[in-house]
Each structure stands twice: as C-alpha cells, then as structure tokens.
C-alpha cells in the first residue's frame, strides 16, 4: 500500500522535474533602467525570483500550459502577461514596469491653494504646524497670517487676502458653510476663530481662483476637514493662565464620540500682561463641542459636529468720534451644527451631502443704548462625483442657504432692521488629466439670491503642467460674486452682489522636505458697495458703483532638511492694491493694505531639553490712513509693523501622566505697533481734528498652559 503511494508520488515529482522550464529576462523601467529587487513569478505558484542588481531574473518552473507571469516592484504598477510554458525549454522575457502614481510626482491643480493635511503627501503644511505657530496663539486664522498673500490687520483678526476685506474670506467645515466663524468683537480689537485647530485633520486655504464648488466669497475660502473616526479612547485636561479646558473621546465598534469644553477668562492674564484697554469686565468665554462619527456600510461615513459658545465682556472705550468715553458691554452666543454624510455609490460614484445650522446672537450695549443682532443660517447641500475614467472626474451639486438677519436698535427710539435671503446655487466641474503631466479643471457656478433678486453665472478654470520631476506651473482664473455685507443689506436690500475676477499663475518646486513657490496674481473688483457716509440709513445712500484692483507677487519657501531638527518657512508678499468703495472720495490704497508683508516661522526640536521651540517674526510695511488735518485723501502712513513671538513646549511626566507644558510669548520685543488712527469728526477749538491711535489690547503677552493626558 504505502509503496504504491510512494511510487505514485515519486512518479509525480520526477515527472515534474523532468519537464521544468527555465524563465529568464530583465526587468527595467520605461527608460530601460534596470530595477533590482523586483518580484517576478508565475501566478498561483511558488515559482519565481527576485531580480539581481542588474535587473536580471532566472527561475525554473514545472508548471505547464499557458500561465500568468507577473512582476511587481514598489512604486511601479504591477505587470501581468500570459506565457506559454510549453513553447520552449527556455523562455526569455524582458519586462518594462511603469511607475505608479506617486502623489508627489503627480500634477496637482493647486494655483492659489495652500493645503494642510495629515493624510495627503503633496501638501505644504501639517495640522500640527497650524497649532504650533507662535504668532497665531492657537488660532487657525492667525496661522494663515504667516502664509503669503495674507495681510496683517492686527485690529481685526480676520483673514484679509490679496487686497480683499476680511469679510471676503468665507469659512467652511467639511464643505458646509460656517456663517459666523469668528467670535464677536469689541471695536478696534482682534477677533479669533471659534474652533480649536486640534479638531481638524486638514484645512484647505485658497487665496484665489478656487473651485466652482465654493461660492459667495470674493477673495478666499478656508475649508476645514474635521477629524475622522477616533480609534483611541483618551481624555485630557488643560489648566491655563486664561482658563480651563477638558476633552474626552469614547470609541465604539464603528463610531466615536468626542466631547470637549472650556471656560476661559482673561481676568488673570490681563493682570499679568499689561493692557492698553480699560476693561471693566475681562472677556469670559464658555465653549462646548461634540463630535460624533459613525461608519455606515463599507464606505459610508456620517459626521456630526456641534458647538456652543457664549462670551461676555465690558470695557471703557474712548470714542473720539463721539467725543466721549463709552461703557461698552458685549454679550454673544453662537450655536453651530453640522451633519455630513459621504458614501461611495458603486464603483464610479461618490455622494457628499450635508445639513448645517448656525444661530448667532449678539448683544451690544453702548452706555444706555442697545443693539441686538440675530443671525440664523440653514444650509442643505448635495454633491456627486462621477469617475468617468482614469483621466476624467465630473463633479456637480447644488446647495441652498437660508439666511435671516434681524437687528434691533434701541437708541433714541426703537428700530428694527430685518432681512432674509434664500440663496440657491448649483455647480458643475470637470477635472481632466490627459497625462500625469497635465491637468485641467473647468467649472461653472450659478447662484440665485431671492433678496437681491439676481442670478449670476460664473466660469472657473484652472490648469497645471508638470515642468519637471518636482516642479509644475499652474494657472487659474475665475469670476466670483458675493452678496454685500449684512451691515449694508440691512439698510439697502436693493444692492447687487459685489464682483471679483482673479487670475493666478504659480510655479512650484516641491520635494518631500522642501517647497518653493512663487505666485503672481491680478484681481479686479466691480460693483463694490459705496455709501455717502458710514452708517447712512437711507437705502438711496448706497450703491454698487465702487471698484478696485490688486496685483502682487507671493513667495513661499519651506525647508525641513538643511538644518538638523529644524523646520522653517518664509513668506513674502508684495501687493499693489487700490479701491474706491465705502465713502472713499477717490481710488486709493485701502487702510488694511501694507505693500510688503514678511513672515518667518522657525521650529526646532531641542532633544536635550525635551522641548519643542517655535518662533515667528512678522513684518508689515506701513499702512495708509486718512488724516483730516491735511489735504488730500489717504494722505498719511502708519509706522511699519513688527512682531516677534515665541512658543515653547516641554514634555514632562506629571505624577505618572504624560503632560506637556506650553509657554506662549507674544511681541517679545515689545514693539509699539499702531494699526491706524481714529479721528474726531469735528475739529477742536484750535481747528485741529484730534486723533487716537489704534493699538493691540496688550503690549506683550504671556500665556502658560499645562496639558495632562488622563
């Protein structure tokens, strides 16, 4: 019995030995360079070999008939070919492997765009960079201030891009509109973003000519991508000189829930850091945030983001225009809810949908006068992507925004200023990549506003061409409409949307560790709102007769490799901008524009001290302002702006828990930065208009924070 089997086995194995075929050949790339280390084998067998240093391979197989020969190598597309193993005793095959699409080597449509992502490779920033930029003080929008194209407007805090006003930058979260992304502000004081940078795994910041998916923004968009499902349960608390913060994350099988909250008061901090503002009640803020993520099916993801925020403060404000010291009390609350659901629909389709709701209430008391402002926003959005083939992707979608505004003024009588608007938009965009070197994107966006009773249709175009392994040129242009600011619409709902046209050209060189980019742009504004006097109440005092233009060059250099343990970037912007809008008497450089802006961000890990140190230096050349004591318009210039800020993060073990100690120091050198001047509306007895400078609320600022992981 046993012998029979062994005979059969022997026979089988010897038969196969007898019929072995030899396969030899060479594996090269498309330019005939040998590829050592490639795997060449017959599918569904153990037979195969690794190529040697010259790319040669050779192996024997006892398989028969027609078989699949495969070759694979990291960074290259897999290769398959049928071979007839009975054709000859020795089969010789040369294999050419095609490079696979490495993210860094592929052309990307990116003119005007700065992307921060922890998931993609071809980006300029990581989210961590935003959280640790010292001059930003943990504010996302502040961190964008170190990128080229952004103006330093210290008394405002919003993002002023390329000759555009702060309101021209719109903020989105997972593609959904955030109608009040900034905290409420006191006059001449900077505002901040409402959201912690740690909630996001990526941000897309476009300084112009962005995709047709975004509308209602004249200059710029910021799209923040919230964190995906958390895989680790964690909790932490932070104790700061400005308050307390806590967060916790719980994970389910296919879901996660994160809760965080904080209570911030600058009472203590204002004692430490000398204030140039007379606070009666230092700002007090409470925030609560919830994030829930649920995977549905294989590709579906539902995300819920909700946040509640309330603030209050009181100060004495020397209002030189009113010639009085006013007692200002500001209270505000804000709720933002954002639901998104994204899923693949089969192999070729993707669905993106969302529903967002924002309620913002602001209560300002000026001595005995009271101004209450309520804003409500509801947005529904749906979009589809269709992957037609490897080269072509088609995107289209529609979104509806219902916005209502009501301001109540109790000031020598009661006034009510309400308006509401339904904005219906649709967009379609096609991205076509005929080769790995060339990409184009053509889009169209249509918007209809019920309030302005106006429909606009605008084109968008961008293209990019790879000029070398690491470099590319890009070109983008488009037209953009945005409804006038609420402060004008409440008086003059007959206004038309304001309009901007952008053209951007970029050259970029990028390797894993270095990025150089230079970008030139042209921008034209039309239909800007003009009025006869600030706060004019008659709707006939407002018109769309304003216009403006801007041109400039932005340069960015980031280097992570030349200096050990060090990462730095330099941004420089030159801008030439003019406008005739608001109550300007003629075309002039607007007061928020500095011709030269420079930022230097330097980050270094000090292993011996266990400390991560970052420093920023910011410079902005003088800004124009109008001095009524002299003839002409916008006839004076402020001093240049300078700032040096530093942050230190020291890792330590705090009673057995992992902890980090952060120290943030702003304006170390104590530069007395003046952003502009307010002037009295009437001259004094000597015939002179008195003025008061607009300064930062503090000269220097130090904030200390300890974060403990529980």
């Amino acid at each position: 019995m046993r012998s029979i089997i062994s005979i059969i086995l022997l026979f089988l194995s010897s038969a196969s030995l007898f019929a072995q075929v030899q396969l030899t050949g060479k594996v090269t790339d498309t330019k005939n360079n040998p590829l050592p280390g490639a795997n060449v084998f017959i599918q569904n067998s153990y037979d195969g070999a690794t190529t040697d240093s010259l790319g040669n391979f050779s192996f024997k197989t006892s398989l028969k008939g027609i078989q699949d020969l495969s070759a694979s190598f990291i960074g290259y597309k897999p290769f398959n070919q049928k071979v007839d193993l009975e054709a000859a005793k020795t089969i010789s095959i040369n294999i050419h492997l095609e490079e696979s699409e490495d993210q860094l080597d592929e052309v990307v449509v990116n003119a005007g765009t700065f992307e921060a992502s922890d998931e993609k490779k071809a980006v300029v920033l990581r989210v961590f960079d935003i959280a640790t930029t010292p001059s930003a003080q943990g504010d996302i929008f502040g961190a964008f201030g170190t990128l080229p194209g952004v103006q330093k407007v210290g008394e405002d805090g919003r993002v002023f891009v390329r000759g555009g006003e702060g309101y021209e930058t719109k903020t989105f979260m997972d593609g959904m509109l955030v109608s009040s992304p900034y905290t409420s502000k006191m006059p001449d004081m900077p505002t901040r973003g409402r959201f912690s940078p740690l909630l996001f795994s990526g941000t897309l910041f476009s300084t112009g000519a962005y995709s047709a998916e975004y509308g209602q923004a004249l200059s710029s968009i910021v799209d923040m991508k919230t964190n995906s499902i958390e895989t680790e349960e964690k909790s932490s608390i932070s104790v700061m000189t400005v308050g307390l913060m806590g967060s916790t994350t719980q994970c389910g099988k296919n879901s996660s829930l994160s809760l965080s909250g904080d209570l911030l008061s600058s009472a203590l901090s204002n004692k430490i850091n000398k204030q140039q503002v007379d606070w009666i009640k230092a700002p007090l803020t409470a925030d609560a945030t919830i994030m829930f993520r649920q995977k549905t099916g294989k590709t579906g993801m539902y995300k819920l983001f909700g946040t509640f925020n309330t603030t209050s403060s009181e100060m004495l404000y020397p209002n030189i225009q009113a010639d009085a010291i006013q007692d200002l009390t500001l209270g505000s609350s804000n709720i933002y809810l954002n639901n998104t659901y994204n899923s693949a629909l089969g192999e070729k389709w993707m669905l993106k949908s969302g529903l967002a709701w924002n309620y913002d209430h602001q209560n300002m008391k000026i001595d005995n006068d009271r101004i209450t402002t309520d804003q409500k926003m509801v947005q529904a959005k749906i979009g589809f992507s269709y992957f037609m083939n490897e080269q072509t992707e088609l995107k289209f979608g529609s979104d509806w925004v219902n916005f209502s505004y009501e301001q109540k003024i109790d000031m020598n009588g009661n006034y009510r200023l309400p308006f509401s608007n339904n904005e219906l938009s649709g967009f379609a965009e096609m991205e076509y990549k005929p080769s790995r070197k060339l990409a184009t994107r053509i889009g169209l966006r249509a918007e209809n506003s019920s309030l302005l009773n106006e429909t606009t249709i605008v084109p968008r175009f961008s293209g990019a061409y790879k000029t070398g392994k690491h470099s590319q040129v890009s070109l983008a242009c488009g037209e953009f409409y945005q409804n006038p600011e609420n402060d004008y619409l409440k008086f003059a709902p007959q206004l038309k949307p304001e309009k901007a046209s952008h053209a951007v050209m970029t050259w970029q060189y990028q390797t894993e560790k270095q990025t150089f980019r230079v970008e030139g742009y042209l921008k034209k504004y039309d239909q800007l709102v003009k009025y006869t006097a600030p706060l004019a109440t008659n709707q006939l005092d407002y018109s769309n007769s304003g216009s403006g233009k801007a041109r400039g060059i932005d340069v960015f250099w980031r280097d992570k490799q030349s200096l050990k343990n060090t990462d730095y970037w330099i941004s420089y912007s030159w801008i030439d901008a003019e406008r005739n809008y608001k109550d300007y008497s003629e075309m002039a450089v607007p007061s928020f524009v500095s011709e030269h802006n420079l930022s230097l961000v330097f980050k270094r890990f000090l292993p011996a001290l266990n400390t991560y140190a970052s420093a920023t230096y910011s410079f902005a050349s003088s800004r124009p302002y109008h001095d009524p004591n002299f003839s002409g318009f916008m006839n004076a210039q402020t001093k240049a702006y300078n700032d040096i800020s530093l942050s230190l993060t020291y890792m330590l073990n705090f009673f057995g828990k992992q902890a980090a100690l952060h120290l943030m120091l702003n304006n170390l050198a104590g530069f007395d930065n003046i952003y502009g001047y307010n002037f009295a509306t009437t001259p004094n007895t000597e015939g002179k208009y008195e003025s008061s400078p607009i300064r930062s609320p503090f000269v220097r600022q130090a904030i200390l924070l300890i974060n403990i992981m529980l």
Binding site: M1, I4, I5, I8, L9, P36, G37, N39, F41, Q43, N44, S45, Y46, D47, G48, A49, T50, S53, S70, S72, I74, G75, D118, R126, F128, D129, T231, E232, K234, E512, K513, D567, K603, F605, N610, Y612, M651, L652, N653, G656, Q658
Partner: protein, 212 residues
Amino acid sequence: MKKSVFILVMLLISGVSFANEAYQKAMKLAIDRLFQTQTIQEYVDVANQFERISTMEKKEWLPLYYASFSYIMISFRETDNAKKDQYLDQAQKYLDQAMSIEPNESELLMLQGFLYPSRINIDPINRGMALMGKMNAALEKALELNPDNPRVYYLRATMTANMPEAFGGGAAKALPLYQKAAEKFELFKPKSEIHPNWGKDINATDLQKIQK
C-alpha cells in the same frame, strides 16, 4: 474493488496533504531565511518569496504577515526617509490584506504596533503624537486577543527603554517589562512551526544590555 477505493481515497488525502506540505515546506524555508537575513536586498528577496506564497495561498494570513514583517525590517535599515515611507506603505498593504483574512489575530495587531514606531522615526515632531496613540491602541487590542503574546510585551519594553524619562520611559522603567516579556517567551508555544515565534533572543539580549 474495496482495495482500489481505499487506494483512491488515500491518494486524494495524500494529494491534499501533499499541497499542505508544500506550503509548510515553502514557508519553513522562507522563514529560516528571513531570520538569517541582514541586508535590504536579502530582505526584499525573502519578502518576494512570501508575496509569491501569498498569491497562491489566498486564505493564509501568515505569508502576508511575514512579507509585511520583512518590509518593516527593511524600513529600519533604510536611511532615505522617502523610501522608508514607501517600504512602510508596502508593509501596511500586506498587513491590511492579512487583517482582512484574519481580523482578530493578536500577532497581526502586534505587527501593526511594530510598524508605527518606524513611521514615527521618520518625522517624530509631526507624527509622534497621533501615531503613538494608534500604536498603543493596536498593542492593547493585541493583548486583548491574546494576553500571553510575548512579542507585545517585548515591544512595550523596547518602546519604554527608548523613550525619554520625561515621557515615563527609561531603563529603570523598562527593566520589569523586559523581565515580564522574558517570562512570557518562556511559556510561549507557537501554534505551528510556521506561526510567529520570534523575539525571544532579542529580548534576552536587550534585557542583558539594560541590566549592565
């Protein structure tokens, strides 16, 4: 008649076991080579061997486990960071495949925990925070699935030894962990000849180093 049926059945059975034997043999050979390998080229070669076995044995997670392991070892030897990431992408690809075959295998989660430190080393400043958490989560799950997996203990010991004292690391903290790992290695019996059974020697060597 009866006899010939019997022979036929035997023949079929032996045919099956013959295939299984070939798999065992091929794996055994490749594993022996893997643990004698030194250079990147050799690792690539042996990883290729495992890849070939995996294309044939589509239901086995072990060939993918070792292929992934080989690429992680390569990443420790490679000096170019961009290439390191590429190797780790490859390791992750095999590991993901293996996990789709056997989602609840302690050794695979351990391997995932073994992969992250190499990723972190490439860019500790930017990756440290996020990936440390993921690594700990993977190791925790690995222990949940098999509380006696000695490699998890070993990995924890090395991580602790290499971490600055300020983070709760250092030799003193690592010592008991190495000792615990040594105990676990002593008791460990692999499920078969080709199941993961590495780490005992290196743990002993590291333990000795730390005791000096």
